[in-house]
Subunit: 636 residues, 2 copies
């Protein structure tokens, strides 16, 4: 098992991820702070809300605050911020004084639904909030060394360990929205308290067993007038919340996509932590189903507009893609774990696909507005007319905030923590997982990476410090890359590629220089023909970046464009475009409109045209208009 | 101006339309009678509903009953039915006794919303119901010669003429759902009362003028507590109900598609009846917009799922097609009028497209269940999972009835009246508009037509009776037909084709025989590339029939099929298939699924496969499954 680099050991120094991280720390944390403040979330843990007051606490408000503190915590590792740290401490003090004697802490159940704790695990996000608070407390402890928040959450976790479990008198339940599982594993790893691991294991394995806990809970809830609207599952059985059958029996990822992937992250943690081979096989099985049948080219997942969930295999509509930002983030959580456990770069390929495309699309260039869903196609007229009556979260303009505000602070905590995804270690070995200008320091070495990846092919690594104990450097070769060269001190070396990494073992010296070149031609990608929405279409990818066409760059009707596999593209980098990015210029064709709506088949009349493609993640930052990822395929 | 053949002058004798007409008369009228009875509609005009009783009358219930009586009336011309005629008489007696002194008659406003008549024209379907009742009363008078119902409706129409109009003290309003306009014109033509024409003209031209009547009505309605929920327009301004601007200024068909087309039918009536050239130009302008930019290949219109309305130009989604049955029927009403006024077969091409495809799809083979919306593509899994949360009226199974039951009795009255669309006359000339086995008798002649059209190419016409005064026979050459021959008494004749008709003028003799052959090859149709949903796709058409592929006939994934313009099809007629129809067998290709979801572009791996296509109108009458009209295009 690899160790993820501690957030403090990595400093991003320049480039695309650095810029995102910087915007997040300098702008996003501030704007989200104000949103939390204005909506009543920030101080809701004072537990002073009373009936008929405004800003009635919602079931998931604690998680919004938790994610913001977590985002702040990671940020503090590289960006000290005394003002916000003081704010966080203030909120933590409030938590401490609001925490009940037995360790319980939840705004909704201490104000709105008093006395109803643990009676509606299915709908009320109670353990979900606990999980986010635990994650936040760990992050805050790791970067500030202050343990008050951590101790609060340990007390709460201890309560959960006594309330839930297989013993008589315990609740044999588990959360309606997974999250606590992965949080408990983190807490176990920090504290070495095995009861946290045990509870996570219990939650993972108990889920979906018969008789179904939610049926029992529902029957009990009938006694509560407050819960006589106990919600029926939105989809058949409990598949929507992955509780339709035990995880070991599940063959495909189903239901609410964020729930499903938070769950899988926790499942993977438990599987490898407890060395449960059947559970490990389950991770592989569900991973395969996900990446072979249910993932957008952008790494977006959960294609169904209805209740934010997975659809059936190969159902990946572009215009109606839900592809929630949180779900792509959750995919990063899961694949990052699988990479660490399996030391296999294939998981990073998926992680990178999600990060550079379907996650980063979730935030505006200026860091102040957010997509909840990330469509792969926008027909502006359809959105404006709302022809499907589905506007709610769809569209071509990011929003400042949401009633259900899970995505904004989720992307904030991911961006704050980006550094920790760049390197991993295995005893004396170092894995470079993502390429971005940065320094990494541990006991063995200080690495200094310089690159304009993902826009540039070249990565320069300098060994600023080396101890004798440092042995092997693993460099990731992404699966999209079919040509690469690697030099050590300007000499080409040939090393085998295994599980997505090349392994360089030598007696390292200070100022050894490694130069990696990952060839990045413009690639036209096709989807499995079973994806009916993309048949006869091609997408543009270069390196890990998926490109799109926006109306603002292309005067033609985007939907009438035709690209063949041989159409030529040139690659341009513009420092002033969208914060600095590569764009592509191509000479392709467009279909000429006919007069008649329907006519006997004839060759399609085509004209030459030039298109400009920009990274998908950066769309919707200029004039609103149409956008496409998938372009009609022209056959020669 | 041509005269439509009176329903009594035409007898359908055999074939596809005859079968539909027969099923309708023998089955559908009966099942709909039971639905009307069971839901409380049939006798609601007793006006005996009181608060808190079940079956609260709805705003449009009168129209459901009216359409059923109208359907029955046309049916009586060829299928005497003493029992139902007695039922109709009974309901008419009830209407007579419920009609108020001043002529007013409306169930909803005489039971549920007493004292509120004419205060919410926008939402409450009051004039719409009046229109349907008028149409029914005329039909009933024409086939039964009984005038009680007609007199009732004349009294009601007289009231409307006094209430509405431009004079002081009159309401300067018009209906929220058009229909009354075309009904008043019918009444004018029957009675020669010009005030009915005047009121129709007023409704047509007043609509959408500023200040908007609905704004005035809304302000007034605020005084009624009952109407404090006066609905805001669902779409921007009043475009949803075509009242956003005067008709003369309108450039495109917009809003609710049934409203729009009922309106256009009335607009056309007023335009030609009053010889208003600007209004005639408007008809042409909106017709062009409709058939060049907003119509499905099936003649379905109103593509937007949201509130049953038109979308923007070229937005014709196949899976989410609304394409309400009533809207395609309304398209028949409009195009039939335009044909009669312009003597131009192009309108019949559209009428025939709608009739044989998007209208007939609206009813099951057995005549007992109905589609409200008529999608051009079904992915069964998507419907079953309801991935868009839009199930309501979508799907692959027809329903017995609907809460808003406009479509079932609308298709019933159309099918009952089919005979009247087959022929038209112009003084001593006869136009054969649609080809179907039938006899037509008027003062001039008796025509006997024998054909298995639309499945067979040959139409045999025999002059059973001829008077000297009979002069010219116009035979329609559909625009889909590029090769035809016509023989008189077995001798080929060459006659010019003008406005969709060939004109045969001669001294007709008894038993003159005309044989028309309309070549019907299998045609692959492409859509204007501006229709983004159909780019790179082809549809199959033969004669006026659009074909589809159903899962039950085709084991392959329908969405992976590939058809080229040169793929060969054979044509088969099967008397036992779906009530007797032609199906097509073709050798095309299918794409082979790849292992990877995304891969670098390569040739698509194709295998040979055989497909079977059936008429679109007959889909969803066997095992439920996927269905497509548009097939992926393979380029050679």
């Amino acid at each position: 098992m690899l160790s993820q680099a501690p957030i403090k050991s990595v400093l991003l120094t320049d480039g695309f991820l650095y810029n995102k991280n910087k915007t997040n720390q300098e702008i996003t944390l501030q704007t989200q702070y104000l949103q939390l403040l204005e909506t009543g979330r920030l101080y809701c843990m004072r537990m002073d809300w009373k009936d008929n007051m405004p800003n009635r606490p919602h079931q998931f408000w604690d998680s919004d605050v938790a994610k913001w503190i977590e985002a702040l915590a990671y940020s503090l590792a590289s960006h000290p911020n005394g003002e916000f740290e003081k704010k966080a401490d203030e909120i933590i003090d409030i938590m401490e004084s609001s925490q009940l004697e037995d360790g319980y802490l939840n705004t909704y159940f201490q104000t709105v639904a008093k006395g109803k704790r643990f009676t509606n695990l299915k709908d009320d996000h109670e353990l979900y909030c606990a999980g986010h608070l635990i994650e936040a407390s760990i992050a805050y402890y790791l970067t500030t060394k202050k343990d008050k928040f951590l101790n609060i959450m340990c007390r709460y976790a201890d309560l959960l360990c006594s309330v839930f479990g297989k013993d008589k008198g315990q609740l044999h339940g588990y959360p309606g929205h997974e999250e606590i599982e992965l949080a408990l594993i983190k807490l176990y790893r920090l504290t070495n308290e095995t009861k946290y691991l045990d509870l996570a294991t219990y939650f993972v394995l108990e889920r979906g067993k018969q008789p179904n806990y939610f049926d029992i809970e529902k029957a009990n809830a009938r006694n509560h007038t407050k819960f006589n609207n106990y919600k029926i599952p939105t989809l058949k059985s409990y598949a929507y919340i992955q509780a339709h059958m035990p995880i070991l029996e599940q063959k495909e990822v189903v239901g609410h996509s964020v729930r499903a992937l938070y769950y899988l992250a926790g499942v993977a943690d438990v599987a490898y932590e407890t060395n449960n081979h059947k559970l490990i096989k389950t991770c592989h099985r569900l991973y395969s189903n996900l990446v072979e049948k249910k993932m957008y080219i952008t790494g977006g997942i959960g294609s169904s507009l209805k209740v934010e969930s997975f659809s059936f295999d190969y159902d990946l509509p572009n215009d109606l893609a839900y592809a929630e930002t949180c779900a792509a983030i959750a995919l990063i959580f899961f694949t990052n774990r699988m990479f660490l456990y399996e030391k296999d770069g294939q998981y990073l390929d998926v992680l990178e696909r999600a990060l550079y495309n379907g996650v980063l699309s979730g935030m505006s260039l200026d860091g102040t507005s957010f997509f909840y869903s990330n469509p792969l196609e926008v027909k502006k007229q359809a959105v404006d007319m709302d022809v499907l009556g589905l506007k709610s979260n769809m569209g071509y303009e990011r929003k400042k905030w949401f009633g259900c505000a899970c995505c904004p602070p989720n992307i904030a905590r991911l961006l704050s923590s980006l550094g920790s995804y760049v390197y991993a270690t295995d005893n004396h070995d170092i894995y470079v997982s993502l390429y971005t200008s940065s320094t990494f320091t541990n006991k063995e070495t200080t690495l200094l990476v310089k690159t304009n990846y993902p826009f540039d092919e070249t990565i320069n690594i300098n060994m600023d410090q080396v101890c004798n104990s440092f042995n092997t450097l693993y460099l990731r070769i992404p699966s999209w890359c079919s040509n690469y060269t690697v030099k050590v001190n300007k000499k080409n070396i040939v090393v085998p590629l295994e599980k997505g990494f090349i392994k360089i073992t030598r007696s390292w010296q200070k100022d050894d220089k490694i130069t990696l070149n990952l060839s990045m031609p413009v690639t036209k990608v096709m989807a499995n023909p079973k994806v009916r929405q993309n048949i006869n279409k091609l997408a543009l990818q270069r390196g890990p970046i998926v490109y799109c066409l926006e109306q603002v760059d292309n005067s033609d009707d985007l939907f009438s464009l035709y690209m063949s596999k041989d159409d030529k593209f040139t690659i341009h980098y513009d420092q002033s475009l969208l914060g600095g990015c590569t764009y592509l210029i191509g000479n392709i064709k467009k279909a000429v409109s006919s007069h008649k709506l329907y006519s006997k088949v004839s060759p399609i009349k085509l004209e030459d045209t030039t298109i400009k493609a920009i990274p998908y993640a950066l769309f919707a930052n200029r004039a609103p208009g149409d956008m496409i990822v998938w372009i009609n395929r022209r056959f020669l």
